[in-house]
Structure formats: C-alpha cells, structure tokens
Amino acid sequence: MYGILASIVDGVLVGLVYGLAAMGLTLIWGVMDVINLTHGAMIVAGMFALFLIVQAFGVSPYLALPPVLIGGFFAGVLLYWIAVHRMVGRPPLMSLLSTFSVNLVLIGIGTAVWGTALFNVNVSLPGLTVGRYTFPGGHIVAAVLAIVIAAALYAFLHYTRMGKAVRAVANNREAAELVGVPTTRMLAISVGIGVALAGVSGVLIGTLFPFTVLSGDTYELKGFVVTVLGGLGNPVGALLGGVALGLLEGLVAPFAPVSWTLIIEFALFVVVLVAFPTGIFASRRGSL
C-alpha cells in the first residue's frame, strides 16, 4: 500500500519537472503555431551548462539557473531569427523541418564534442524518508522550483504588459499588428522564453538523473505527450499534463511489469490526440 503511495508522490514530483520541460514547447506552439523540434537539444544544452558551471565554479547546482535562463533567452531569440522568422505564416511543414534541421546540427556538434559519454552531477540534499521509502531531496527541490517558475510565467503572461502583448499575438496576429503590437518582437521574445524554459528544465533534470548528449530526445517526446495532454499553448495545462504523465509512470510500476510503461504512454498519447485534439485540460486553442 505504502509502495503505491510512494510511487504516486514520486510520480507527481518528477511529473512537475516533466511539465516544466514541456512548457517551453507549448508556449512557442501556442503563440505561433510552430513546433520547436530543437526543444530536446535545448534541454540537453541546459544539462551541459549545469555540468560545466558546477565543474568550473564548484557552486550549488541551483545557481546555474539564472545564467541558463538568460543565456537560453538569447539563444532562443537567435533561433527565431535563423530558423523561424521566415517560416511564420508558411505551412507548418516548413517550420517543423527548419527547427528539425537545426536540431540535427546541434546534436551533431554535441556528439562530436562530448561523444555519448554519461555525465552526472551529484546533488546531495537531505531527503524525506517516510517508512521505508525515501523521496530524494533533489526531487523535492526540483518540483518546487518547477512550480515557482510556472507561476512566474503565468504572472508574466497575465499581469505584465509584455505578457499581454504576447497573448494578443497568440490570439490573433493580424489584429495585434493592427493595434500596434510589435508582433515580430513579441514572436522573438516568445521563442526566447520558450528556449529559456527548456534550458532551465534541463538544469533541473540534470540534478535528478545522469544524462548524455542524446538524452534530449526522450524528454522532447515526453514534452509532446505532456503538451497533448495539457493542451496547446497552455502553461498551466502543461504542468498538469506533466503531473498526469508522472503519475502514469509511477502507477504502472506497482501493478504491471515495468516494461509496459512506454507502450501505455504512447497508446495514451495517440488516443488523447485523436479524442481530444485540443488537450484534456485545454481551454480554447490560441488563448494562453
């Protein structure tokens, strides 16, 4: 019995981080109908930034968050200008392919530099032990930070002028243009935020699990599943979707052979896509 409870709690904790990992993806998707296939590479970039910063300066891993946030933002803006700007308004196929190609380039450079060796960042924080089960401190901190960042994003989108401008562009780009919103700048900023979020989630994931240059793919796929569950362009939905995914992974283990986890995950993914194209937790598409 306690085993199941432990799995549920663990699932929620990890799920919150999955949700954060998906938030960048869903934001960009919601604002400009572009699926950022470099998302995985950006998560990996965050992981490696964490590793390099901790190794070079020996500081607490969480201090890597601010530089990654800022660096990620600028990387995102750069990405916008290289691969996305010309694709806005064109068929989605094009932006899929352009971001995909940038992803290939980034992963290719990554494997050329770091190979596929495993990297590990040791985070030793006191955990919470209940009975025989322990919830590692790192998991708890990561989950809390995920919620904090999500809340900050929500506040930005709903209570700041720039955030409202972003939502306006997401809602109806032409109308926003007409009322004087600098749409191109808002689009660039959105991609910047989206990539920053990906990087930051990479940092947090790096504190939980070991990683390689190729780890991004798994989290990107999970990001898609979460986005589909939580609804396009809906950051709060992403968090909830992440929790749902984490719960699913945690709940399969006590009841079924662990190897079924992936099958169930993907079956659910396809079913939800077909049955709820706008996501289970979604409000209308296009509104953030």
């Binding site: 899929l96 290939l104 992963i107 290719g108 450079i109 993914f269 896509l273």
Partner: protein
Amino acid sequence: MLAIVRRPFFWIIALVIAIFVAAPLIGDDVGLRESLILAALYITLASNINLMLGYAGYINFGSIVFYGLGGYICVWLVSAHGWPLGASLIAAGIGVSALALLFGLGILRLRGAFFALATIGVNEGVQAFAENFTPWGGSSGIYMSPAAFKPLGGPAEALWIVYFLMVAVMGLSLYLSYGIKSSKFGLGLLAIGQNEDAAAILGVPTPLYKALVYSASAFLPAMAGGLFFFKSAFIQPSDAFDLTLSTEAIIVAMLGGQGTVTGVALGAYLYEELRGYLLTSETFSHFQLVIAGLLLLVIVLFFPSGLMGWIYSRFPRLQKVLP
C-alpha cells in the same frame, strides 16, 4: 492508365530499372550491388513517403513503422513458419497496408503537426510493443538461421535474388508514384495538399483519399523492409523502428523536390551516395548529422522546392517530361 505507356517518363523509369539490373551483373561486382541496393531502398522509401508528403501535404515522421513491421512479418513467417520468401513478402505488404488503413482511420482526422506527432507516437508504440512481444523475440529480435537461404540456393545466390526483388520494388514505387500523379486520385491529393477544406467543399472525398494514400504508402516500404531484414538474417526492434531512416526519407524528398517523381528519386540516389561517403570518411563520420542538418536547413530556407524546383525554373519544358 494505358495512355501512360506512350509517355516518355514511363520508359525513363524502365531504363533506370534496367541500369540497376545490369550494372552490377557486369563484372559480378558485389560491392556495387551492395551500394545500389541501398540506393534502391532510399528511392523506395522516399517515393512512398512523397505520396503523403508531396502530394497530400501530410508529414509522416513515423513512416519507418511500415518498414519495420513488414520486416518483422516477413522474417517471422520465413523463420518460424517456413514460408517461402515470395509469399512472406506479399503477406507483409498486405498485412501492413491493412494495419495502416486501420491506424489511418484513427489518426488521419488530425491535421498538420498533430498528425506528424501522432505518427511518431504510433512508431514508438509499435516499437515498445515489439520489444515485449515474445513470439517476435522481444527485444532480442529474431535470428534467422543460414538454412533459410537454402531454398534460394545458398547465401550468395540469395543475396542476388534479394537485390533483383528490391529493384523490382523500387520500380513499382516509381510507377506507383507516377501513376498516382497522373490520375484523378492524384489530382485530388494535390488539392488536399493545397487546401484541404476547399478540396472537401469542391467534392474531393478527403477522408477516403487520405486513408487510401496512407495505406498505399505502406505497401511497398513493408516489402522493402521484408527484403532488407531477410537479407540481414536478423531483426531487432531498435533497428526496425529507427526513426533516423524515415527522417532521412523526408530529407531526401525535400532535397530532391517534394511532389515530383524524378526529384525524389534523384535526391534519394544522391543522398545515399553522399551518406556512403560520409560513413567511411574518418573526418566526416562524426559530422554526418551536422552536414545533413545544414543541408536540410538550407533547402528549407532557400530552396523549398528542392533540386527539381530549381531545375524546373531553369528548364520549364522538363516539367512535362520529368514529373
């Protein structure tokens, strides 16, 4: 349909097939055969993905699932049930097309990016299934014993037979591509690719056409998979459902010119040659991904109609002769 026989392109395809058959036979060049069989595979995969991508405008990221499933069905029938190769290939083709129809009915309701993602989901799900399905060896896969080559006369002969069959499959893919493009069905697909809602309003039976083309685009890749894994005498889920191959098929179709028959075939051939070179070059094998990515980025940003698009803009008359 018979009018096609009078078109020059029909004979151009026949010539290409003849070259593929004759070239390695001259001088019994096994090395050339091995590199041409790969080219034939890429042409097959790219031409079939073009049906969805270039004609109907739907990206099938997970198209490799047809190839992998076809491989599994064929190898399983041959090794576990002793079926002859020919029958196993046909069973694989029909089986996978039928499954595609089934899956398609579900996911073809989705548009654009959703559909693309769903195809990935289908591929990953099928791979996870194959890894747990014991009759198919689970994650270890199926090992075919060398005895399976005996009915074909031993490994050396079998490799030649497999090669000719693959060339046949490639030829059929090219003819299928061309045939569809020249038909009313193809016109309907192109309309869907331009603007699906408008096409529906104008009377194109969109759900039916989409399902048909999705299923059709599964048949020949399934056979190609069956041939390839029979030749390899060994199939496991991580190889059978490797998204890299379907990704490359998309790149190739874009490179050559999506929506054209010649472009896709040309792109496939050129890409395979480039890849073969990159594979063995010490300096570049690390950068294969980087180069492929840069290539794609440049094409998408500056040459969205691919190689063929560029050629058509220089020689507009070719558009009729080399569709």
